[in-house]
């Protein structure tokens, strides 16, 4: 079957790439969506996901081009290839959306997330937390005699791993930013 020929980065439905089969296997995709920075645009994107029953694993948004009035929304979603294609096409038809990129299929990309962990404890546990933080290159951004706040940046699975280690050591609170991602190279 022939794929749709739509220029990458073209206005209303970029990165549209049809798959040959309807597979049942769910995949995790990271989408970068460039949108008009205007009130309500995030609601449009989120409303699309909730209204059509798609998953959002993580979502981040911030203005990336002040003069061009553009924000970048990074969405991590899970679905069958058909659902992923639908999500991209549906995002593409939102009038405020300028570009949709599927970083998972468009080539190698880097994903990073920032997280903060508050870990409370004394004695050995406290020492162990600090030691592990060092191994994970987490920074201490706040400390009291009974607690630390660590700041860690990395791919989501590194942060998951750090969370798993901190849990038995007195993890009390976590804040994660969600994924930001960029394609590698030029």
């Amino acid at each position: 079957m022939s794929a749709l020929k739509i220029k990458k980065g073209s206005t209303s439905h970029s990165a549209y790439n049809l798959r040959p089969t309807f597979s049942d296997v769910e995949e995790r995709h990271t989408l970068a969506v460039l949108v008009e920075n205007e009130p309500g645009v995030l609601a449009r994107v989120i409303g699309l996901f909730s209204g059509r029953g798609y998953n959002i694993e993580s979502l981040t948004v911030a203005e990336v081009d002040h003069t061009g009035h553009l924000s970048r929304i990074t969405i991590v979603t899970v679905g069958t290839p058909q659902v992923i294609e639908q999500i991209k096409a549906q995002l593409g038809r939102i009038v405020s959306v300028h570009e949709v990129h599927d970083l998972t299929v468009e080539g190698p990309s880097v994903e990073r997330e920032l997280a903060m962990f508050k870990v409370a404890g004394q004695g050995d546990k406290r020492v162990e937390a600090l030691r592990l933080a060092d191994i994970f290159r987490a920074n201490v951004v706040d400390s009291t005699l009974e607690s630390f706040v660590f700041e860690i940046t990395g791919a989501p699975d590194k942060i998951d791993a750090f969370a798993d280690l901190m849990r038995p050591l007195g993890l009390v609170e976590v804040a994660r930013t969600g994924v930001a991602a960029l394609p590698r190279g030029d």
Binding site: S2, K5, S10, T11, H13, Y16, L18, Q86, G92, V95
Partner: protein
């Protein structure tokens, strides 16, 4: 020419500059400045409806019958919320309309002010796009952009929410200029895919054109090209409810509507074809029936301007994103340049198979006895009106399906029905919009008594503006379609599917100053219809019909195209548990 003026004046000026001649609306506190401007000009006619839902359906009817975007003006709060059904209807059927709503002044937004509603929030999922305009200087740009977005690509409803202080404030008006919007949907199809389709056309043994509302939306030129392609290839053509009229019902290759209540031959041919050419249709569940049994042997080409329609439901072997008119032009060009080839002998055999299916005569009925059969009423309406400059609207229910089956449409833009949303109450206001667009035409709304009552207040509108719309009510004193499903699915337990205390429709008409006609005897039918046609003014035609007639053919929920029911005898226990959860 840029000029200083108030926001309210900008609204009227922008409408004039966009070529708008008619606005359907209803005033209220938050739009009074705009109404004040409407009062002081003569370029735009304002039609005062009796309910904001009516305004939106009227604008939809106007848009569908004229090909121009319909325009509505309503107030904040309840005015806006009353418009929601119409917006959703227009979104589902891809109808270009521009709805202007008043809003409380910017400094009161968020304070739960009187008649404040989060209009852009409420209408975000039921518009193609919407705007809240907080600065008067932004208003002209947004107004012009709204017309662009409503009509470009896959058309749809848009809404502009305008706070009252923005209407009062002065700003700089900008006339429309060529769109600089980033929103520019692709209209040209990919030539490689088009060539692949042409190659498939050349060799297909059992081809079928499956067309839809996209052909109508692409404009009359697209219908013209479609006719040329169909007649030149000699392939059979069917259409969805939304596409009726894109190919003439009297045309040699026409097979009638397909789908849940479509014709036997059309559905059988869809099931058995080897090449399906979907032009501007979207594999709606009313069309496909059971997905895994849908046309199992065919290669499927899908032409659609909306990339999200492709592969949404049915996998397309040859996907083509583009405007139907542009793509058809290219298909014809390529096909002709390659020598206009088709597999004629195989297609002839295919036609003889189709003729066998046609011989089943799935729409046959017998008008016997003293009660009018709804099918007979429509057959007579067809016979007596088909030579008129005629536009047909419908409400939703059995009568709608019978109208699609028994009336013939020769041209696009002549058939206005709520397809995607199935909105009872659509047809009457839509007929008002159609009549505004075509003042001299014969505009008929084929209605059910229950649907018609949902927006009956618009009789006041029809009278006030001398719109001679004909309301042809097939009165079965039942929510007929609901009753039919209860018969088939719920053991004939008719829970709340009949209307008691129906009004005397003749007296009701007279109460508004309109003409009422009652007809219950098949022998009187023709004369009564002629009386309706010849009356210069709105008519409420109460046609008492058989109360328990079911609409056939029918593909029961959860069944495949080749498992159609043709009549009463086949209905016992046909829908299994899995089918009964479907709507």
């Amino acid at each position: 020419m840029t000029r200083q003026m108030t926001g309210a004046k900008m609204v009227v000026q922008a409408l004039i500059d966009q070529g708008v001649d008619t606005v359907f609306g209803y005033p209220g506190g938050a739009v009074l400045p705009i109404y004040d401007e409407i009062f002081q000009q003569n370029s735009i006619k304002h039609i005062l409806v009796r309910h904001e839902q009516g305004a939106v359906h009227a604008a939809e009817g106007y848009a569908r019958a004229t090909g121009k975007p319909g325009v509505c003006l309503v107030t904040s709060g309840p005015g806006a919320t009353n418009a929601v059904t119409g917006l959703t209807d227009a979104l589902m059927d891809s109808i270009p309309i521009v709805v202007l709503t008043g809003q409380v002044p910017t400094f009161m937004i968020g304070s739960d002010a009187f008649q404040e509603a989060d209009t852009v929030g409420i209408t975000r999922p039921c518009t193609k796009h919407n705007w809240l305009v907080k600065e008067t200087d932004r208003l002209p740009g947004v107004l012009h952009e709204a017309f662009h977005v409503a009509t470009a690509g896959r058309p749809g409803p848009v809404l502009i929410d305008i706070p009252k202080d923005v209407q009062f404030a002065q700003g700089t008006y900008q006339p429309p200029k060529p769109s600089t919007s980033h929103y520019q949907p692709q209209v040209k199809g990919d030539m490689e895919a088009i060539t692949e389709l042409v190659a498939a056309i050349e060799t297909a043994k059992r081809p079928i054109f499956y067309t839809g509302g996209g052909v109508i939306n692409s404009g009359p030129g697209a219908s013209q090209l479609l006719r040329e392609l169909v007649d030149a290839t000699g392939f059979p053509i069917t259409s969805t409810l939304m596409g009726l009229g894109c190919y003439p019902a009297s045309g040699k290759h026409w097979m009638g509507m397909l789908g849940m209540h479509g014709l036997y031959e059309a559905n059988m041919a869809m099931h058995d074809c080897d090449l399906m050419i979907n032009i501007g249709a979207r594999f709606d569940d009313r069309i496909t029936g059971r997905i895994d049994a849908f046309s199992p042997k065919s290669k499927k080409a899908h032409i659609d301007i909306d990339p999200s329609s492709i592969n949404k439901v049915i996998k397309a072997d040859i996907p083509i994103v583009g405007d139907v008119g542009h793509v058809l032009e290219d298909i014809l060009k390529v096909w002709k340049s390659r020598g206009r080839k088709t597999n004629q002998s195989a297609v002839a055999q295919w036609w003889s198979k189709i003729e066998e299916w046609k011989a089943v005569d799935c729409l046959k009925f017998q008008q016997t006895g003293k009660t009018i059969k709804p099918q007979h009423a429509l057959a007579r309406l067809e016979a007596l009106t088909k030579d008129h400059d005629r536009y047909i609207c419908t409400e939703v229910g059995q009568h709608q399906m019978w109208a699609a089956q028994y009336l013939g449409f020769e041209d696009p833009n002549r058939w206005m029905t709520s397809g995607g949303l199935g909105t009872m109450g659509y047809g009457f206001p839509a007929s008002i919009g159609v009549q505004m667009g075509h003042p001299e035409a014969l505009v008929i709304n084929v209605a059910g008594e229950a649907s018609w009552l949902m927006n009956m207040q618009e009789l006041g509108t029809a009278m006030q503006f001398n719109l001679p719309v004909k309301q042809f009510i097939l009165n079965n004193e039942r929510l007929g379609m609901v009753r039919q499903w209860q018969e088939l699915l719920h053991g004939e337990r008719y829970s709340h599917s009949w209307s008691e205390s129906l009004p005397d429709f003749v007296k009701l008409a007279e109460a508004f100053g309109a003409k009422g006609i009652l007809c219950s005897d098949p022998d009187d039918l023709d004369d009564a219809i002629m009386e309706m046609i010849n009356h210069d003014g709105p008519v409420l035609f109460d046609c008492l019909v058989e109360k328990h007639e079911n609409c056939f053919p029918m593909i029961p929920s959860g069944k495949a195209h080749n498992e159609m029911l043709l009549g009463e005898a086949e209905t016992q226990g046909v829908i299994d548990a899995k089918g009964s959860v479907l709507v």
